[in-house]
Amino acid sequence: MCIDCGCDSDHEHDEKNSRTIRIEEDLLAKNNRLANNNRTRFSADQLLVLNLVSSPGSGKTSILERTLTDLKGQIDFAVLEGDQQTTNDADRIAATGVAVKQINTGAGCHLDAHMIGHGVAGFDLAATDILMIENVGNLVCPASFDLGEDHKVVVLSVTEGEDKPLKYPQMFQAADLMLINKIDLLPYLRFDLEECKTFARQVNPEIEIIELSCHSGEGMTAWYAWLTAGVARKQRDEERGKQIGYSPATRYEERATKE
């Protein structure tokens, strides 16, 4: 064994050849590059892309099912479902008649930009208004991985406890919208809604918040209005970008590089 570095190979260490290489590269650089490719591609189709993140069991799939059914004929959706195993969620979405593909991450705890690039193959993106990406249920890892989305939407259900934003600040800071789900259960729980919103704003003062229940339907219209406005804004931004030759995807990339 080599005594210098402890490796098993029989190479010789030559001090003269030993050198230090400065690198200064972000560990997420490769993922970010692929995410930018995705974003540029989605941009060309004026596609609004949402990355739905939450802990397991918050109701992401149920919110999607109801949304896809209620907005049928008004907004055209495609859905990517991320889970470690099974096609259960994709099967539930397929039942609504919307184009869906399941991505199984196996041991992986999050979706990454590479999976999304391949995942959308076969979707008719030009005929789609919104691509919904349901991430793996996990409030930690998906926060760090840009998929090329326009917004992260974090779902928090009232059965989880109001201090989740403080416990998982990276995720709530990365999200633009928080959906507080299962509010029909509030009468049976000791969940302080106002405190939850205060906590979320402590980690992200800009975050938008919608309270809803995909079971009772309460609050769903506010969510639908947010989606409809999002599609209109996306198409307007892309049109304007085309006119001035400076797409929102390029602007996003430049801003991210500067940070």
Binding site: S18, R19, T20, I21, E25, L28, S144, Q170, V203, P205
Partner: protein, 113 residues
């Protein structure tokens, strides 16, 4: 858990750079991890042994430089140390704190032969 895929990309990146430099072995790898980055450094050290096995980075010294979290308040203009991501200034209590350091996840340098 994502420490494993991050570490995997560190090893890939290191090998890529080492080959470009026509090096035969990687002796050390240094990364910077901020306290507010959401990455558990211990998990990364553990993952490094697994990810580097059988590669030219096998046996390399893996050094993690810890970068403490820091914030600057837009109200009282004071800087303070941060242990968690928040916008509340620990000094004046206003919701006006900007994170200025601690979210780094960076491959900074490596030593090769």
């Amino acid at each position: 858990m994502h420490e494993l895929s991050l570490t995997q990309s560190i090893v890939e990146l290191a090998i890529e750079h080492a080959k470009r430099e026509k090096a035969v072995v990687i002796r050390s790898i240094t990364v910077e991890i901020g306290a507010l980055s959401g990455v558990v450094a211990d998990a990364m050290e553990f993952a490094f042994d697994v990810c580097s096995k059988g590669t030219m980075a096998d046996g390399a010294r893996f050094e993690i430089r810890h970068i403490p979290g820091r914030g600057r308040c837009l109200e009282c203009h004071e800087e303070s140390e941060l242990e968690t991501l928040t916008h509340i200034c620990p000094l004046c209590g206003n919701l006006a704190l900007e994170t200025i350091q601690g979210q780094e996840m960076k491959f900074t340098e490596m030593e090769v032969d």
